[in-house]
């Protein structure tokens, strides 16, 4: 269920609760305004029936609210969980790639040492190993791109948490308007990252496939004049 729908149900529930409150106040005032009369037992079933109808209506609205909140919240929590898991995986993959490159680089340094130690150093071989060593070092640097992507994923997860906190706050205040905003954060304001600074779909996975899609689109659509 979409967020606007959840807000709509929340709004309707709040309106119903206010209506019940208003009617109870009305009953209380009308009872006070009417000339005192012996409370008749005959009035009781009618009052109870009206109260029952209102309570059932409120419960129905609350169930709808719960379903709306559960539906949208669970989807978002699952997405956030997946993103955080991907951050862990991307970090680990990058670390392993860098360590592997370090191992290969160390072996190449050993090879270079051996070449230098030989009575007649093979300069061509040494040049080749140095070239490969530079590639490895460069590869290590490229592996650090994960940091940019995971930053975006964490910004998205943070934005979802801030939204969840605001929703919980809204629901709490729906039941008690005397409660001040920010009950879940102890009054602290948590601001999500500017949504302009991250892509909610940012991923380290399938870069080749995604690049192929971009190339296909650029080939299919005429490029603007450079």
């Amino acid at each position: 269920m979409s967020s606007p729908r959840a807000h709509e149900v929340l709004y309707e529930s709040e309106a119903t609760l206010r209506l019940v409150d208003s009617q109870l106040s009305e009953l209380r005032h009308s009872a006070a305004a009417e000339p005192p009369r012996q409370p008749g037992l005959a009035d009781l079933p009618g009052i109870l029936e009206r109260a029952n109808t209102q309570i059932l209506d409120v419960l129905s609205r609350l169930r709808q609210t719960r379903v709306a909140m559960q539906s949208s919240a669970l989807d978002k929590i699952q997405t956030t969980h997946d993103k955080l898991k991907e951050v862990t995986t991307a970090t680990e993959d990058a670390a392993i790639n860098i360590m592997d490159a370090c191992d290969r680089a160390t072996q190449m340094v050993d090879v270079l040492d051996a070449i230098d130690a030989a009575p007649a150093p093979d300069k061509a071989k040494a040049a080749e190993v140095r070239g490969t060593l530079r590639d490895e070092i460069f590869m290590m640097m490229g592996a650090l791109q994960f940091q940019d992507i995971t930053t975006q994923q964490l910004s998205h997860a943070s934005a979802v948490l801030v939204e969840m906190e605001r929703r919980l706050d809204d629901v709490t205040r729906l039941f008690d308007t005397n409660i001040e905003a920010g009950i879940f954060t102890g009054g602290r304001e948590y601001n999500a990252s500017d949504s302009q600074t991250y892509d909610p779909n940012a991923t380290t996975q399938n870069a080749e496939g995604r690049q192929a899609l971009a190339d296909e689109i650029f080939t299919a659509v005429k490029q603007p004049a450079a």
Binding site: F138, Q145, F146, I149, D199, V221
Partner: protein, 123 residues
């Protein structure tokens, strides 16, 4: 040839600049968002490499403004971004981007895209 590298991630700027140096382009200037990039852009810049998601001014907004300037109308703009859905790629093209690299990228892809746009940069 001077390159303008625009990205809010200092790590990414460094990776792109190192990649450029590795393929022989040592003249670079960097900016952390579109606004800073516009301030640093001048007629000496012959090639722009920009991210999309940045504070203050995004890469697509920056490209649109750049295209409206006489000195930026024809400079090659290569977008390097994590965004990779079809709609995003089309939006970038509409903004005036000349080619598109999806993060994380390899140096070979960067070189291929730059090589393809070099004739335009040299013009």
């Amino acid at each position: 040839m001077k390159f303008l590298v625009v990205d809010d991630s200092a790590t990414m700027r460094r990776i792109v600049i190192n990649s450029l140096q590795r393929i022989g382009f040592n003249d670079t200037v960097e900016a952390a968002d579109g606004q800073e990039a516009l301030a640093k852009f001048d007629s000496t810049v012959k090639f722009v490499i920009t991210d999309w998601n940045m504070p203050n001014m995004s890469g697509t907004e920056f490209t649109k403004v750049l295209r409206s300037r006489p000195d930026g109308a024809h400079v090659p703009v290569l977008m390097v971004t994590a965004r990779s859905v079809k709609e995003d790629i089309l939006t970038a093209m509409e903004a005036g981007v000349n080619n598109y690299i999806v993060k994380p990228f390899t140096p070979a892809v960067l070189k291929e895209k730059i090589d393809a746009l070099l004739p335009a940069a040299a013009a």
